[in-house]
């Protein structure tokens, strides 16, 4: 009973030794403990074990390092054994200067590439090809087929053609195209009338006077638009004061 307890304590003492020393000699030391405890005395062996523990950690620096080739026995299964913390060994030499410079340059290049990809503010940057390069350099998807200026006849509501999703163009082209598509959809819905605020309404209003439907809502909007384009705060207030809000149908 006493021997088994002291043996367990001695084994624990051996376990506290540096890994390299422990793996090489712990079993032999334990076997000696089993044989010599009666003749040498348990206390003497424990004292020797404590001195050895201090010596290996404090004096013997080489005991703390364990070559990976020795640490990992051949055929040891799984990565768990290999990546145990005690199997790692830091190199004793420092990296040469050119290696530091090489690492710094590579890091800067990588960070620059990430910055270019993400762009300032987290938005996709506007590349020079978007401004002056040939159109069609960036492939767009899920966008109806159309030339760069668009056409009023290319919108087929609800039934996109087979080739409607193969257009190429810049992001700005796609955005403008989507706006025109929305405009055409609204025009079809209201009967070929330009919708105020939309792309076609602005284009058409530059050449001819704006036409609004001859309805109460259209008249109210025309009055507000006139006040708005006049740029006067007073006229805007007057317009809002004279605006009649239709009564609820309830």
């Amino acid at each position: 009973m006493v021997h088994s307890m002291s043996r367990s304590l001695y084994r624990w003492l051996l376990y506290l030794h540096p890994p390299a020393f422990r793996q090489r000699f712990a079993e032999e030391m334990l076997s000696i403990f089993d044989e010599a405890a009666a003749t040498y005395g348990v206390l003497r062996l424990f004292a020797d074990g404590f001195v050895s523990l201090l010596r290996q950690w404090v004096v013997r620096a080489e005991s703390r390092r364990l070559p990976v080739a020795l640490a990992v026995p051949q055929g040891s299964p799984g990565p768990t054994t290999f990546f145990a913390w005690e199997h790692f060994e830091m190199p004793q030499y420092s990296l040469p200067l050119y290696r530091w410079i090489q690492g710094a340059v590579m890091t800067l290049g990588l960070l620059s590439a990430v910055w270019l990809m993400v762009g300032p503010g987290g938005r996709a940057p506007i590349l020079p090809s978007d401004l002056a390069g040939p159109r069609g350099s960036r492939t767009a998807w899920a966008s109806p087929t159309q030339n760069a200026l668009g056409s009023a006849d290319d919108f087929v509501p609800g039934t996109p053609g087979e080739g409607d999703y193969a257009m190429s163009g810049t992001a700005e082209d796609i955005h403008q195209h989507q706006l025109r598509q929305q405009e055409r959809a609204i025009q079809n819905a209201v009967g070929e009338q330009s919708v105020p605020g939309s792309f076609y309404y602005v284009v058409e209003s530059q050449g001819t006077a704006a036409e609004t439907p001859k309805t109460p809502a259209g008249e109210q909007f025309s009055a507000w638009l006139s006040a708005f384009t006049a740029g006067s705060a007073r006229s805007l207030r007057d317009s809002s004061r004279t605006t009649r809000i239709p009564a609820s149908r309830t």
Binding site: F21, R24, F25, E27, E28, M29, L30, S31, I32, F33, E35, A36, Y40, R44, L45, A47, D48, G49, V51, S52, L53, R55, Q56, R60
Partner: protein
Amino acid sequence: MKLSTMRFLPLSPAALHILLALAGEDLHGYGIMLEVARQSEGKYKLGPGTLYDNLRKLMTQGNVEEIQKGTSGGDPRRRYYRLTGLGRRVLSAEVARLEGVVREAKANLLGTKPRRA
């Protein structure tokens, strides 16, 4: 050859006793401890920690090597160690050095050596 042995000298008492124990025959760890105790007539006893710390150093230096030896009937945890040729030369050089130390000590202690003015 002498230069290659001189760099290991002087040996520590533990290393000297281990080499002396292994000079006679190949031994395992506990056998070395018993042989050291016998050679010193029980006045010097190596503990396992001291023994294997010195064995490790001696093996690194090439003075001692581990050998494969059958442990028929014995403890399979035992490993046997042998003195190498280099270790034997180192031991011889250390013994020669100690002979000079003993000679000088006797001369001083017995008063046969003239003192300097």
